[in-house]
């Protein structure tokens, strides 16, 4: 079963070819059986004609001898009575020789007809297809010239294994019998048939493979296209090539791609409009709160407004990440991390950057990576009190690790931390602020770079966030 599953072709081309090969094989098998049967019939026909001819000759010879004896008025001379006429390998007997085998009535009728045409009357004819070993030795001794002849003509040919035994009852009631070997069946025919089958396979499967390949090539193109589809890179529509069904499919996918791109474009326009429209009243509010005399109250209002703006920015960044338009640039990752750490230090955060060993440079989108680092370091400070940051190069990738001294995260909940709007505190209260999108954005940014963000509880306590990027 397993083997069958492994051998079963998975591709369309493979399945088409397998179906064609199976159908061809079946047809060739039927062909083969029919061919073998017709060869058999032909061989029996030939052998029985040969044996029949010999019997007819013996019978007419016998009749002539009797006539001459009658004219000479001599008592009929028994020539051997029951016995063999050596020259013709024929056997005279009062009863037909019992030979086990397959009776061939059609051949018997044909011999009767042939005898009648030669003025010989057989009262009965029996034709039996038997193993050559079962044929009585006197008949087998020379059961047909073709045996010896064939051996001489085709030295490699297999010796005959079957003989046709023909017995005919003469007018006198006596039976005369002879045998004729049948050529060994099969061997050359099978070789020929295999050759034919191979040629057929080549003639049919090769063009079929070509056509199937031509049909599936656009399918493969479509697959690659669908895999690579992203709203940020706009491709020209695929050329409609190939058979009509495929062309229709390509046209449909092109149209769908257009609709998807239009939808994403609409989403971006809408989000941009929302961002702009919300920021305008927020900006107005931000200006107006300056007239609040209570400093503490005013600072709180400003903080709330800043938080709203932060959430709005997070949502906009996440929604537009695919088309940020920022190019990859060779960037000093240590300097970038240093800049982010300094932002937190200036605001009183306990963030430190370990001295990097050597330059750590990577092709990144600095604005996005800065945002990812800001989110990760901000989380460490918020939930873990400190952020010990380390930048390193590690076998084909660069990574920034951020250790905190917080309580860590329940191992089972780590993956859900990356989901939007999930916060570490179970109550989901907003005491700690933020949009709940920080990790989601950091991971999305890392993945957009072909990297990853992971969270690991350290054995000694505390959480380690790790941003790794190809570099």
């Amino acid at each position: 079963m397993n083997v069958l599953q492994r051998l079963w072709p998975r591709t369309l081309v493979g399945q088409i070819l397998l179906a064609a090969a199976l159908a061809l094989g079946l047809a060739q098998t039927v062909n083969f059986v029919l061919l073998l049967r017709s060869i058999e019939t032909q061989a029996i026909g030939q052998a029985s004609a040969f044996a029949g001819g010999r019997l007819i000759f013996v019978a007419s010879d016998d009749r002539r001898a009797q006539r001459m004896q009658r004219r000479a008025d001599r008592p009929p001379q028994r020539r051997g009575g029951e016995g063999v006429r050596r020259r013709n390998s024929t056997l005279f007997s009062s009863t037909p020789p019992a030979v086990a085998g397959e009776s061939q009535p059609d051949a018997a009728l044909r011999i009767m007809d042939a005898a009648r045409q030669n003025d010989v009357q057989f009262q009965a004819v029996r034709v039996t297809l038997a193993d050559r070993a079962d044929v009585p030795p006197p008949m087998r001794r020379r059961d047909g010239p073709q045996a010896g002849l064939r051996d001489r003509l085709r030295p490699g040919a297999a010796p005959a294994r079957r003989s046709l035994v023909v017995s005919a009852q003469l007018g006198s009631g006596q039976w005369v019998s002879t045998a004729s070997a049948l050529p060994q069946r099969g061997a050359p025919v099978i070789g020929w048939l295999i050759g034919q089958t191979l040629i057929l396979y080549l003639a049919i499967l090769l063009p079929l493979a070509f056509i199937a390949h031509r049909v599936t090539r656009p399918l493969r193109t479509l697959t690659g296209r669908a895999n690579a589809f992203s709203a940020e890179s706009v491709h020209a529509p695929l050329a409609e090539k190939g058979p009509e069904d495929i062309r229709n499919l390509i046209a449909a996918i092109n149209a769908m791609e257009g609709r998807v791109t239009a939808l994403i474009g609409e989403k971006d326009v809408m989000l941009g409009a929302i961002g702009h429209d919300l920021k305008t009243p927020l900006a107005a509010l931000r200006v107006r709160i300056e007239s609040v005399d209570d400093d503490e109250e005013r600072e709180r209002m400003a903080a709330s407004i800043d938080e709203m703006v932060g959430i709005l920015d997070d949502i906009l960044v996440l929604a537009r990440l695919g088309r940020s338009g920022e190019a990859l640039r060779r960037t000093d990752l240590t300097a970038l991390t240093e800049t982010v750490v300094a932002e937190f230090v200036d605001r009183g955060g306990a963030a430190t950057l370990a001295d990097a060993s050597g330059l750590v440079i990577a092709d990144i989108r600095p604005v996005l990576i800065r945002r990812a680092l800001r989110n990760l370091i901000g989380n460490a400070l918020k939930y873990g009190g400190v952020a010990r940051v380390h930048v390193a190069r590690d076998r084909g990738s660069v990574c920034v690790t951020i250790d905190d001294d917080g309580p860590g995260i329940d191992q089972a909940a780590i993956e859900t931390m990356f989901e939007p709007f999930v916060r570490a505190e179970a109550s989901r209260n907003r005491a700690t602020g933020g949009s709940g999108l920080g990790l989601t954005i950091a991971r999305a940014i890392a993945r957009q770079h072909g990297g990853a963000v992971t969270l690991v509880n350290r054995p000694g306590g505390g959480l380690t966030a790790r941003l790794s990027l190809p570099g």
Partner: protein, 238 residues
């Protein structure tokens, strides 16, 4: 410039323009309001304006186009107000010749601080080749002013904060010159130093980490005894 500086505030949003104008007036500015680029243009012709506050996204002619117009006709400082924080907008704005930009919603206090810095710089005549995105090259480093970015000799971007940018910009504009902490604070943040102000020293040490081969023995940004810093290398522009 004498008496109250005259600001021209161009923004199509009344809800921002009105309270901001009143706030700025309370801060000692004279403010003329305009609700579109067109009326802003006529106000520019009618009054002696010291500084323009300009919204980028406006119906009709936008702020960037008006910035280009203003820059083509003189040295008047421009601060752009933008609702979009995207990098490209900022770069385009600065390339058009804007002196600074603030992202909405902004803190009006911070806006005032920036206005004062720019006005002081304009008064001192230190506004450098307005509008052109001058690049400074020193000791293999390139400082691009439009992008506010620092590049190493092999083209690698070395990210710096905006404070570090203003500091290195002040230094490369005055190579060899000794700049005191007070001068640097004034040039970069438009404020005076407190008695224990370490902001400049912190930023210098961060900059050294990024550009010096050995930050402990700096050869580019030298400390001068008696309080100050000096860029000890040649600077080429262009």
């Amino acid at each position: 410039m004498s008496g109250r500086p005259h600001l021209l505030l161009i923004d199509d949003e009344t809800s921002i323009r009105d309270p901001l104008a009143r706030y700025l007036e309370r801060q000692g500015f004279r403010v003329t309001e305009a609700e579109s680029a067109a009326s802003g243009r006529s106000a520019l012709g009618a009054y002696g304006i010291d500084l323009v506050l300009l919204d980028i996204m406006m119906p009709g002619e936008d702020g960037l186009s008006l910035t280009r117009h203003i820059r083509a006709h003189g040295e008047m400082p421009v601060i752009l107000l933008t609702a979009r924080s995207e990098e490209t907008d900022r770069i385009v704005g600065l390339e058009m010749g804007a002196d600074d930009y603030v992202v909405k919603p902004f803190s009006p206090r911070e806006l005032v601080a920036r206005i004062k810095t720019i006005l002081r710089r304009a008064a001192q005549g230190v506004r450098v080749e307005s509008g052109d995105s001058t690049d400074y090259r020193f000791a293999g480093w390139t400082l691009k002013t439009a992008e506010q970015e620092l590049y190493a000799a092999d083209g690698t971007l070395v990210p710096i904060s905006s404070g570090e940018y203003r500091l290195i910009e002040a230094l490369v504009q005055r190579p060899g010159q000794v700049l005191s902490r007070d001068q640097l604070l004034d040039l970069t943040q438009g404020r005076e130093a407190g008695p224990f102000d370490r902001a400049i020293d912190n930023q210098i040490s961060r900059l050294r980490k990024k550009i010096e081969v050995d930050p402990k023995n700096p050869v580019l940004i030298k400390t001068v005894w008696g309080g100050g810093y000096r860029l000890a290398t040649e600077v080429r522009t262009g």
